[in-house]
Symmetry: C2
Subunit: 409 residues, 2 copies
C-alpha cells in the first residue's frame, strides 16, 4: 500500500511563516514589560550619564597634578571642597587642588579624573598626599559614555530582559510599546477523550493535550484559550473552529491521528472561510500526521493526538509561527540550544527528521546527551528529558561522541 501522507518538507513548511504578520503593538508599563517583545526600535533620547560621574570614592583632581606621584615621592594636593551626592559642585578644580567625592558624585569643573581614597593619605583637613599617578578620565564615566543621544539602544522584535527594562527606566520611559501576545485557541478532539476531572470509562483517557499545549503556548509568550473537548462530529468541530476564528490568532486542534479522523478534520477546515490546507503530513518523527492550514490570517494546526508527538510538533514547527505572530525577530537568540555529545550510537531512518528526547548529563569532560528510550507515545520519556535533539533527514544516525545541539524542553 502507498504511503497515505503527502508529506511537505520542513523547509517549505517554514517558508509559510512569511505568510503571517506580527500582531500589532500595545503600550505596557515597565513592570509588565519583562519577557514581552519590543514593538519599535529605541534610540537614546539623551546622553547617559548626563554628567561626568565618579566610579569610586576618592578625590576629584586634574590628572596632571598627580603625574610622577609615588609612595616615595607623593604629590601634595589642597582640598578645596566636597562634592555632595546629587548636586553639581559650585566650585572648580585647578592644578594642585582636589575635592572629596563619593561613588556616583558629579565631577567638578576642571577635574578630569578621580584618585581613589586607598591611594591617598590625609595630612590635615586641607591637604592630602597622593601615592599614585592617575590618568585623565580614570575612575570617571564621561557624559554620554554609556549612551549618546541618538544611539540605537534596543531593537524592535527583541525580548525584553531586566537590563533592557533598566535602560528604559534610565531614559525616564514609564511605558513602552510591545507586540500583543498571540491568543492561541486549543481544541482537543476525539470520542475517547474525557475532561481531566472525570474518571475515564474503560477505553477512554483524560484530556492531556489541552494542558500541555496551553502550557507550551504560555511558555512561548502566547495566551492560551482552551475550548475544551470536541467529540468526533463535523458540526461540533466546525462550530468550535468558527468561534476560535473570531477570538484567537492561531488555532491548535489535537487528536485525530487515525486516517479517518484526520480526513474529517481536513474536511471541516476546508469549510472555514478563506481556508486552504497547506500541509498534510510532515517528514518528522514523532509527529508525521500533522496538518497545517490557513484560514484568512489565521494559522491552524491539526496536531497528533499522542501527547508526546503533539509536544514535539509544537516545539519544532508550531513555535516559529507563534514567534512570528508575537513579533519576535532574529535579532537576539532567546533560547540557546545546548551543545553536547551523544552518549551512545543511535540509528535513525533516512527521509525524516527524528526528534530524540535526551537527558543532559554533566561529566568531567563536558555535557553528554543521553537518549531516553521508550515508545514515542509515552509521556514518561518527556518527563525524563531535558531536551530534544534533531537528527537530520539525511542522516542515518549518530555515533557515540557526535556533537549535537540540545533544545531545552
Amino acid at each position: 500500500m502507498n504511503d497515505f501522507f503527502n508529506v511537505t518538507d520542513l523547509k517549505t513548511l517554514m517558508g509559510y511563516v512569511e505568510l503571517f504578520s506580527p500582531l500589532k503593538t500595545e503600550p505596557v508599563s515597565l513592570p509588565e514589560a519583562l519577557g514581552r517583545v519590543l514593538g519599535e526600535d529605541v534610540v537614546s533620547p539623551e546622553n547617559l550619564p548626563g554628567f561626568a560621574r565618579s566610579t569610586m570614592d576618592g578625590f576629584a583632581v586634574q590628572a596632571a597634578s598627580t603625574f610622577g606621584a609615588s609612595e616615595a615621592n607623593p604629590a601634595y594636593l589642597t582640598i578645596n571642597g566636597s562634592v555632595r551626592m546629587g548636586e553639581t559642585p559650585a566650585f572648580s578644580i585647578t592644578p594642585g587642588e582636589a575635592a572629596r567625592i563619593s561613588t556616583g558624585g558629579a565631577l567638578p569643573d576642571g577635574a578630569d579624573s578621580v584618585v581613589i581614597i586607598e591611594h591617598t593619605e590625609a595630612i590635615d583637613d586641607t591637604t592630602i598626599e597622593v601615592y599614585k599617578t592617575v590618568a585623565p578620565g580614570q575612575h570617571v564615566v564621561q557624559i554620554g559614555e554609556d549612551f549618546t543621544a541618538g544611539d540605537r539602544v534596543l531593537n524592535q522584535g527583541q525580548v525584553l530582559r531586566p537590563q533592557d527594562i533598566g535602560i528604559m527606566a534610565a531614559f525616564g520611559k514609564e511605558s513602552l510599546p510591545v507586540h500583543m501576545q498571540a491568543r492561541v485557541g486549543i481544541i482537543s478532539t476525539g470520542d475517547e477523550i474525557v475532561p481531566i476531572g472525570e474518571i475515564p470509562d474503560p477505553g477512554k483517557i483524560r484530556d492531556i493535550n489541552s494542558h500541555t499545549l496551553s502550557a507550551m503556548v504560555s511558555e512561548a509568550g502566547g495566551i492560551p484559550l482552551r475550548y475544551g473537548i470536541v467529540q468526533d462530529d463535523a458540526e461540533l468541530l466546525f462550530t468550535a473552529c468558527t468561534n476560535a476564528l473570531s477570538e484567537a490568532d492561531m488555532l491548535l486542534i489535537s487528536g485525530g491521528s487515525s486516517v479517518g479522523t484526520r480526513d474529517f478534520t481536513v474536511e471541516v477546515l476546508n469549510r472555514l472561510p478563506d481556508a486552504r490546507i497547506l500541509v498534510h503530513g510532515i517528514p518528522i518523527s514523532p509527529g508525521k500526521p500533522t496538518i497545517f492550514a490557513r484560514a484568512g490570517k489565521m494559522p491552524i494546526w491539526g496536531l497528533p493526538g499522542h501527547v508526546v508527538s503533539a509536544m514535539v510538533v509544537f516545539r519544532s514547527v508550531v513555535r516559529p509561527f507563534l514567534d512570528r505572530l508575537n513579533g519576535l525577530s532574529n535579532y537576539r537568540q532567546t533560547v540557546w540550544p545546548i551543545p553536547a555529545r551523544m552518549s551512545r550510537n543511535i540509528s535513525s531512518a533516512q527521509g525524516r527528521t527524528d526528534y530524540l528526547r535526551v537527558r543532559i548529563v554533566k561529566k568531567e569532560d563536558g555535557l553528554w546527551a543521553e537518549p531516553i528510550l521508550g515508545k514515542s507515545g509515552l509521556l514518561n520519556t518527556m518527563i525524563q528529558a531535558d531536551g530534544l535533539v534533531a537528527i537530520d533527514i539525511n542522516t542515518e544516525g549518530l555515533d557515540k561522541g557526535a556533537p549535537v545541539m540540545v533544545v531545552p524542553i
Copy 2:
C-alpha cells in the same frame, strides 16, 4: 591604606543558604502551575494507560497469526469486528482473527499486537492479507507502560514544565501544591536618585535599580515589592526596612557603594530586630561592596548602587538564596550554562572572581564567547551581553580558545 572591606569568600557566603528554609506551599490549578516549584513528590496513583492501546491505525491480532507472513507468502486473517474509539471491544480475538483498530483504540481481549494498515490488503469485507510479521506487543502501549501505580513521577522542588503539568492532567489532578513565591522587597537609596518619571536635576540620576532588580526577581520566580527611593537618612531607611520585614521574605537595598553610605546602611541593618551582619564585602568584580545580613528569617542584601554591579551580584550570589526560599531543589537544572570558547585572551586579577559580560557568537566551529569591554558601570555592556562568564578567583585570566560556561543573563 588597608583594604576597608572584610571580604567573605564565596563558599562561606553560599553556605549561608542553609540558614533559610523554603517557603510553605499553596495549591494552584494546573493552568497556574507552569514555572512554579512543586511542593511535594508525586507518585503515580494509577496505571497509565489504564488499558492496552494501539499506537497505529491497523488491525489488532495475535502476533502468532502473522508469523512467517511476507509479500510472497501473506497470512490470511478474518475480520471479526471494529474497535470503536473510547470503548472497550465486546468481542475477543482468537488465532486467525483481526479487528479494525485506530490509533489510541483499546486492544480487544486475546489480541497482543497491531498490524499497521500499510502492511495489509483487504481481500473482501471480512478477509485481509498480512504482508509482514508482527512481534507480540508491537504497536501497542501496555497497561501501566507509561507509569505504573506507585511509580515516582515528579519530585518536590522541581520547576513544573508543560510535560509535568500534562502528567498531572493524565492523573486527573486539577490542582497541585507548589511553594509560595518569595516576596522580595526592593529599596533604592541615595540622595542622587530620582523617580523615573522625573527629569533629574544636574548631578542626579533616575532610579534604574528598582526596575532591573524587580525584573530579575520576577524572572527568578519571585514577587517584587517596590518600596521606591529612600533618601540617605537613617530613620527613613529604618522605617522602610521595618515595613519590608513585615511584608517581604527577602530584602534588597541598592545604592550606597561609597564608604559613608555603606556604613550607614550597616548601622540601620544592625538596629533591626534579631539582626546580624554576616557579610561585609565579597571578592567578586563587579560587586565587591555587597552587604549580607539576616534579620530573623529574612535575608537582607545591601547591593552596590551601580546598576551593572547590582545585576551581577543578584545573578551570582543573591539568586541562590531566592531559589532556596522559592523551594527549588537541585533535582533538575532549569537554566543551563552554555559551553563556549573564549574569542580572545582576557586577563583577570587573582584574589577575586571576575564576572565578564560576553556576547555569544555562533561560528562554523561552534559557539564563541566574545568579551564586551567597557567600564563595569556602563549598562551598555549588559544590553550587549548574552551572558556572564565567571573567571575563578585563582585564575589569572583565560586564553583565547579556553572553554568557558556562559550563564545567560
